[in-house]
């Protein structure tokens, strides 16, 4: 039977008040425990290159044939363990060459300067400022990185739904229909491979930027590709854009690509 006397209630209040005072005591103990092992700190490397939005300018006038693009794609695919699959439907590519009318549909007139028509155009992920692939991704495996504007992929999270591939208007993404490992001629042990069932694409060489190096394709391009911060008016890319007439792929779609072409 409940004893609702005044005395009982006062007793309860007293015990409750006592219980409340134990919290600071517990906290003090908990703190001591934490102090025993100091916290670790996570930071960016001192050599890391920083930008608000990385961008690239491609001077297409410096490329004459498919063969001129070969070393650039080769350099990229080699360090990123991109497999070489013969079957066109299974092909994986991060950077490759295409014709003007494929790279810039809608901008190709019926009759074109012969020189432009024959010229190969280097295409890769545009690292759009308004990326549709990011909006399509249901797991946030692909995302726009706040720190440097790279449209990045977390392969751990990719579930292989390929919505991003459908959303990307540039065909910049490839899907691993097969286990890629047997198709990598020479594995770069410094970089992971991918596994069957994930999408992959160019990462603007984020792993190289982190240690103060420019992307591999830029490095071997002999000045035909220029890399820099789009929001730094003094950057090399901005200087080039200021001086030359540049176009971007499918600009009317509003994805705001960060790769500019001098034609």
């Amino acid at each position: 039977m409940m004893d609702n006397s005044r005395r009982r209630i006062l007793q309860l209040l007293g015990v409750s008040a006592l219980a409340l005072t134990t919290k600071p005591v517990f906290n003090a103990f908990a703190k001591e425990e934490v102090a025993a092992e100091a916290e670790a700190v996570i930071k960016a490397g001192t050599k890391a290159l920083k930008a608000k939005q990385w961008a690239m300018v491609i001077d297409t006038r410096k490329f004459e044939s498919e063969a001129d693009l070969e070393p650039l794609a080769e350099a990229c695919h080699k360090i990123h363990n991109v497999p070489h699959l013969q079957n066109k439907r299974h092909e994986i590519k991060w950077i490759w060459g295409t014709h003007y009318h494929n790279a810039f549909p809608g901008k190709a007139a019926r009759f074109l300067a012969e020189e432009v028509e024959d010229r190969p155009f280097l295409v890769l992920c545009n690292h759009c400022e308004n990326p549709p692939c990011v909006r399509a991704c249901p797991t946030k495996a692909t995302f726009k990185r706040e720190s440097d504007g790279i449209v990045f992929m977390d392969f751990h999270r990719c579930i292989g739904c390929r919505f991003c591939m459908a959303a990307c208007p540039f065909g910049a993404r490839s899907f691993n229909y097969r286990d890629p490992r047997p198709f990598i001629a020479e594995i770069n042990k410094k970089f992971p491979t991918r596994m069957k069932g994930v999408v992959e694409k160019c990462n603007f060489c984020a792993e190289r930027l982190a240690v103060g190096q420019f992307p591999a394709c830029v490095e071997v391009s002999d000045g035909a590709l220029v890399f820099g911060d789009l929001y730094d008016p003094e950057s090399d890319v901005r200087k080039l854009i200021k001086k030359n007439y540049t176009i971007r792929r499918k600009q009317t779609l509003g994805t705001e690509p960060s790769v500019y072409y001098i034609v």
Partner: protein, 129 residues
Amino acid sequence: MNNKTLIVMGVVIFLIIVLFPFWYMRGKATPLPDPVLTPQAKAAQKCVRSTEYMRADHMRLLEIWRESVVREGKRIYVNPEGKEFNMSLSNTCLDCHSNKAEFCDSCHNYASVRPYCWSCHIENPKEKT
């Protein structure tokens, strides 16, 4: 209660089947895993964090590393002693622990966990060519 014998027999057979593994393995225990350290790891004395922390929480540490490298682009880990590490499974962890079979697998097999790290990360940056 006409089926008494049948029921008793059934219960006995059931018990035999259920208890068979215990009887079969009686007195035998799978030996505790004994992960082998490479000479390099031994020389280093201490991992990124204390042995106890690594033993209990290495998977959480790797998760923190992954999130910060992939999502924030921060790649340097400064441990409580102030030593800096490049946050990379392939290039930092496996550089020292270059014996996956004797180190990683020994415990993972014992605990029957199958992490899929190695479907992408290359097991051994040193030995494999």
